[in-house]
């Protein structure tokens, strides 16, 4: 078990800056996700923590020790790779046993034939066997131990990769998009398994993914990365409800948050959109034009005549448990998506005029460069809290 402290970590390849100064503290036993679009530097950051890549600047501490320049194996971390990276020529048993053999046996004891002549080899191999079998039992791999990776399904390989990681009881687990090679159904299932594994082991998990749903469902905290920076870090609820940046708001949540152009802050610090006004107090100079973000589930139907947002229903998606309406509002780039529970909005059909409204506290207002503009209510809440 260990905590991690990253300070000022930068990484450049030639003239491209992949990481631009990452400061991050990860508590002991925490499940943290690094999430962001591809190319944001999240995998590079994980590889730096693992020791597979050297940072250009900054330092990494694990459990209080600076580990810069320490070999990956000596950091005592385990990693699960996207491609699983199982040794194709070894059986499942041997794949899981490799990290134990490398740690517990000397070079001579690993040599091909003579190894059994060296005292202690058999005892150590016996202990390795019992450890591997324990892990196999935990992950339901008992019947597969003599198979080669090529004879396993994707989900089974995934389990072997996890088994190889947990068998040596490392200080922390690093997972690099471990679910992206699985089909959708298995992915949802493995999500649960990994979260349960985390609870059972109580170890620190650092999980890299581009899938916000994985990050939301499993993590204690989420670090959203964009262009080599962590732009927001917090619990899944924080990141979802209180995005500090337009990019975070757009990245987290599915369906995506609706972004409407054309809002203006008026003299009384309220928000004006078209002919409607939301009476909240926003901490921004009057006359600033803003972008309005509102989550699909925060919108309600209203009379099309005087609703703040009105348009026509362009498309309706029935997902069973929920219904998504795509409403086209004039002068907006994308259709606004509204989410209803099962059976909602049955009476509306394609082409109908639809009015939409929401309460002022559900509005997330962003400035021209994407920074969040807070309402006074929230600011006060923060001050008091």
């Amino acid at each position: 078990m260990a905590q991690f402290q990253l300070s000022g970590v930068r990484k450049s390849f030639d003239r491209t800056h992949v990481l631009k100064g990452i400061d991050l503290h990860i508590a002991e036993g925490e499940f943290i996700s690094l999430v962001g679009p591809s190319g944001c530097g999240k995998s590079t950051l994980l590889r730096i923590i693992a020791g597979l890549e050297d940072q250009s600047e900054g330092s990494v501490r694990i459990g209080g020790d600076v580990v810069d320049g320490v070999r990956p194996a000596d950091r005592n971390l385990a990693m699960v790779f996207q491609s699983y990276a199982l040794y194709p020529h070894l059986t499942v048993y041997n794949n899981i046993a490799v990290p134990l053999r490398m740690r517990r046996l000397s070079t001579l004891q690993r040599a091909a034939v003579l190894r059994w002549l060296i005292p202690g080899t058999r005892e150590t191999e016996d202990r390795i066997r019992s450890d591997v079998e324990d892990v196999a039992k935990l992950l339901g791999l008992k019947d597969l131990l003599q198979r080669k990776p090529a004879q396993l399904s994707g989900g089974q390989r995934q389990r072997v990769a996890v088994g190889r990681a947990i068998v040596r009881e490392p200080r922390a687990f690093l997972l690099d998009e471990p679910l992206s090679n699985l089909d959708a159904k298995l992915r949802v299932h493995m999500r649960t398994e990994i979260a349960q594994l985390h609870r059972r082991l109580g170890a620190t998990f650092i999980y890299v993914t581009h899938d916000q749903a994985e990050a939301m469902t499993m993590s204690d905290r989420i670090a959203v990365m964009m262009d080599g920076n962590i732009i927001q870090i917090g619990s899944p609820d924080d990141v979802y409800d209180d995005p500090q940046d337009l990019r975070v708001a757009e990245f987290i949540g599915s369906p995506k948050i609706n972004i409407l152009d054309g809002g203006v802050i008026d003299e009384a610090r309220g928000l004006v959109f078209g002919s409607s006004r939301f009476a909240a107090t926003f901490l921004e100079r009057p006359g600033t034009s803003v972008r309005i973000g509102v989550r699909p589930e925060a919108l309600r139907l209203a009379n099309a005549e005087n609703a703040p947002f009105s348009g026509r229903l362009a498309h309706k998606e029935n997902l069973g448990a929920e219904v998504l309406l795509h409403v086209e509002i004039p002068d907006q780039r994308a259709a606004v998506i509204v989410r209803f529970d099962h059976g909602g909005a049955r009476e509306i059909s394609i082409g109908d005029a639809v009015g939409l409204t929401c309460s002022p506290e559900d509005l997330r207002i962003f400035g021209a460069s994407g920074e969040r503009i807070k309402a006074e209510v929230e600011a006060r809440k923060v001050a008091h809290g």
Binding site: R47, A50, L52, R71, P72, A73, L77, A78, M79, F81, Q82, S83, Y84, A85, L86, Y87, P88, H89, L90, V98, P99, M102, R103, P149, A150, R164
Partner: protein, 277 residues
């Protein structure tokens, strides 16, 4: 099997392939047939595909009596096996470094390796000969083996194969605590068996059949490799005795054919085995 109607194009294709195969195989078949014939049947004005009088025992015993063929074969095995083993020993780590490690000047080094492939053995034969003369290792096994231990082609071939091995596998091995050399032998080598087998076929065939360098490098008959041995055999005494000569030629080619058949089986294993990931 279904009866199939062959299109004219298919017939043409097969005709061309059969012709080419015949051109390649005929001398070979002629060698074997000649090795079965008595002297009287070898020089006939007609083409006789099968001898009326089989002279197998006579020709093959003569071949083994007149020259130490077994010795030549043994030399061939020693030389080709050692060459291949040393080539693998050097090419695998070199290829790993060129494919998977990042270091300053890697591309330049690789370019030099490619450049080395272009140098013909004949071009450097004289300098190597002089070098070995000064080192005093001419006319030894070392003279036959050392010039070929570093195979630029082998490094190139293995590097191309290693490029296809996922980086994750190397990183996983590093996380598990395997050293860089350990990765070469315990991770890369087992995955590279098909490529190494292919390289082995090239290497062994080339050095088993090599006539040029052994002819220069050794003088003592007990160091002769099979092709050199068979050639002297002809010059010295059997200039007109083609039956035993062809028998000797057949004998020295046999190990290659057997080795190839064995490797072919390995090839197929290798292909099913690399269906990993």
């Amino acid at each position: 099997m279904n009866a199939r109607i062959c299109s004219p194009w298919e017939i043409l294709r097969h005709a061309v392939l059969l012709t080419v195969a015949a051109i390649v195989l005929l001398p070979f078949i002629w060698m074997i047939v000649t090795s079965l014939k008595p002297q009287s049947e070898i020089f006939l004005s007609e083409i006789r595909w099968w001898p009326e009088q089989l002279h197998v025992v006579e020709n093959y015993t003569k071949a083994f009596e007149r020259a130490p063929l077994v010795r030549y074969l043994l030399n061939g095995v020693i030389v080709t096996v050692l060459i291949f083993a040393l080539q693998a020993l050097i090419a695998l780590p070199a290829a790993y470094a060129l494919a998977k490690l990042r270091f300053w000047g890697r591309d330049a080094v690789f370019a030099m390796v490619l450049f080395c492939i272009l140098i013909p053995a004949q071009a450097i034969a004289v300098p190597v000969f002089l070098l070995f003369h000064h080192a005093g290792i001419l006319d030894t096994y070392a003279a036959l083996i050392v010039p070929f231990t570093i195979s630029a082609f082998g490094i190139f071939l293995m590097r191309q194969f290693f490029l296809t091995v996922p980086d994750d596998l190397v990183d996983a091995a590093r996380m598990d605590g395997i050293s860089e050399f350990g990765i070469v032998w315990r991770v890369m080598l087992p995955t590279a068996i098909p490529a190494l087998t292919a390289f082995g076929v090239f290497s062994i065939v080339a050095h088993w059949n090599d006539y040029f360098w052994p002819l220069i490098a050794v003088n003592s008959q007990e160091l002769f490799t099979p092709p050199v041995g068979v050639a002297t055999f002809r010059n010295e005494e059997a200039g007109t005795d083609y039956g035993p000569l062809m028998a000797a030629a057949t004998v020295i080619i046999a190990p290659l054919i057997i080795a190839f058949l064995l490797a072919q089986r390995r090839f197929i294993e290798g292909i099913t085995f690399s269906g990993m990931k």
